[in-house]
């Protein structure tokens, strides 16, 4: 995702982080603030500041580059295939509730997919595992159909609630996939053990499958069973990628600066431990003592 590395900005952010923590301790704010959580809070603030900085850059009209993500480029292909075959697209926004950030990311992408299905006149089915996700998904899809000027093709019963239970939901979705034989299955959100059950069923009927989750334990199953996979942060970048909104692209750039910050911290930690363990440098150089 990062085209132009920004080591200068990241290294400056690292130094500011160290200085801020020291100054908070020196100012005697230990009674008001939770000192154990302070390093995390400062790092988060630094990251959010970077994101905000690049959002403003995006707003000011700077062209921001984002690399091609094959899984997202194939959404159009998947919807087009469904239209040609006269079959539906099944979109599964995960099994967790609306308070999960991956579910929100999945629902954000659902809007883009719904706009495409409304334009191509393909049927979109969204089985939901939670009631609040159901009502949000209905709203998102309805708005997408309204925005593209096809409110008459919106069918509320296509976005339906199956059940809260994990394996009962998998059984319900598998039954839907086997009976209706959709041309495309899109799984974007939080998945656990049911990920392979659904992905293999979709593979068995020959559907084109696009999956994405931040659960690292489920990614191998998606990679083995699906055609395209969004790995970890690509799921959260998808809404920016599909919309090409400069503000959202700017936030991705800010995220990359955060990644550089973490890379610096890891390299510093490895180097400091090597120097302390093998060359006898003082233990105060260790990254853990700096943030203690």
């Amino acid at each position: 995702m990062l085209r132009n590395p920004l080591p200068t900005l990241a290294s400056r952010a690292f130094v500011v982080l160290l200085l801020t923590q020291s100054s908070v301790q020196a100012a005697g704010l230990g009674d008001v603030l939770k000192m154990s959580e302070l390093p995390t809070f400062l790092a988060l603030t630094m990251l959010c500041a970077c994101i905000y900085f690049f959002i403003q850059k995006g707003k000011s009209g700077d062209k921001l580059y984002i690399r091609r993500i094959p899984a997202l480029s194939s959404v159009d292909e998947a919807v087009g295939r469904a239209t040609e075959m006269g079959r539906s697209v099944v979109y599964i926004p995960g099994i967790m509730d609306i308070d999960d950030i991956q579910t929100l990311a999945g629902l954000n992408i659902l809007g883009s997919v719904a706009r495409r299905t409304s334009v191509y006149d393909a049927e979109l089915k969204v089985p939901c595992a939670k009631s609040m996700v159901l009502s949000t998904a209905q709203d998102v899809v309805k708005e997408a159909y309204l925005r593209t000027g096809h409110p008459d093709t919106y069918n509320e019963s296509n976005i339906n609630y199956i059940t809260d239970d994990q394996f009962a939901f998998a059984a319900g979705v598998n039954g839907m996939i086997v009976r209706e034989k959709p041309a495309a299955v899109v799984m974007l959100g939080t998945f656990y053990a049911e990920s392979l059950l659904i992905a293999e069923t979709g593979n068995h009927i020959g559907a084109i499958q696009i999956a994405g989750t931040a659960e690292s334990s489920q990614l191998p199953f998606f990679v083995a069973a699906c055609d395209y996979v969004l790995i970890g942060e690509e799921l959260f970048a998808a809404s920016a990628y599909l919309s090409q909104d400069p503000l959202l692209l700017g936030s991705l750039k800010g995220q990359d600066v955060g990644k550089m910050l973490i890379i610096f911290a890891i390299l510093y930690g490895c180097l400091s431990e090597f120097l302390i363990q093998f060359l006898g440098f003082p233990a105060a150089l260790s990254i853990t003592s700096l943030f203690a």
Binding site: V32, L38, F41, S216, K259
Partner: protein, 287 residues
């Protein structure tokens, strides 16, 4: 305003939760705790929406006699039966039936099980009998005329309808069946994925093979056989594949997983920031 109100609520709630994370304040802790409680309450009420959608879809399917409409009848019947038994007997393994002394003695004479007698304690306050715990009864400064004791007769019975039949008899086996399908699906996915079509796929195949050998007893047997054929190595053959498998899992695999987790965590922070400050409002669905 339809869009602005959810955005405002999101901003204020997130602000309180973040401030509670870093500031030591009883007020903020209480507010953060309440917010989590409200989420559970709203989710519980939202279940009504889900049930409404479920009934709407399946009743429509039955009415119009769509494909496989019989299964919709089974679903609605199953729902009704489960709700009926759960209402009558509760959802726990056992349920309690209150008895009179006479009923208790009759059942005891018949040799029924689960019969319990409990001492109960009352305080008489303003002509009202209040049931209290034994500790409160003993500590109470009221006079002896204001205190009373009694006995409560109960029978604890097994919830054979809901817990025994529906839960342990139907739900548990169905869940185990779905879970067991994973083993077969994993074998099918592995059969398709582990093919030497490219360099990466070959690496995947070789590492999967080594890890599998390191995790099964036959790996130790194969290791011993190879050690017999290559004696100059001087290592115990039965541990080769286990050591290789442990190395693969603890070094490259763990490194890759951690890298993905770091990236995902950064993505979550960025996505949360965008939602908090309303840069991303697609999920609100309204213009």
């Amino acid at each position: 305003m339809k869009r602005e109100i959810p955005i405002m609520i999101t901003f204020i709630v997130c602000l309180f939760l973040i401030l509670d994370f870093v500031i030591q304040s009883e007020f903020l802790s209480k507010v953060a705790g309440s917010i989590n409680d409200y989420t559970s309450i709203v989710a519980t009420f939202a279940m009504v929406l889900g049930l409404g959608s479920l009934f709407s879809v399946h009743l429509n399917r039955i009415y119009r006699k769509r494909m496989n409409w019989v299964y919709s009848i089974i679903l609605i019947l199953g729902f009704a039966v489960a709700v009926f038994f759960a209402t009558l007997y509760g959802v726990d393994e056992t349920y309690t039936v209150k008895l009179t002394q006479q009923e208790y003695e009759q059942r005891e004479a018949r040799g029924e099980k689960g019969l319990v007698v409990e001492d109960v304690y009352y305080l008489l306050v303003q002509n009202k009998k209040m049931k209290v715990s034994k500790e409160v009864y003993e500590l109470s400064a009221l006079s002896a005329q204001s205190k009373a004791t009694g006995k409560e007769y109960k029978q604890i019975r097994k919830n054979k309808w809901f817990d025994g039949l529906i839960f342990k008899g139907i739900y548990d086996p169905l869940q185990a069946t779905m879970f067991s399908l994973l083993a077969f699906f994993m074998a099918s996915a592995a059969y398709r994925a582990f093919r030497a079509k490219s360099l990466e796929a070959t690496l995947l195949l070789v590492s999967a093979f080594l890890v599998m050998l390191g995790r099964v007893p036959i790996g130790a047997v194969v290791g011993d056989m190879l050690a017999g054929m290559i004696p100059f190595l001087g290592l115990e053959g039965s541990h080769w594949f286990k050591s290789i498998a442990d190395f693969i899992m603890t070094v490259p695999n763990a490194a890759g997983q951690r890298a993905i987790m770091i990236g995902a965590a950064l993505g979550m922070v960025a996505a949360s920031f965008r939602i908090w400050f309303a840069y991303e409002t697609e999920h609100l669905g309204r213009d």
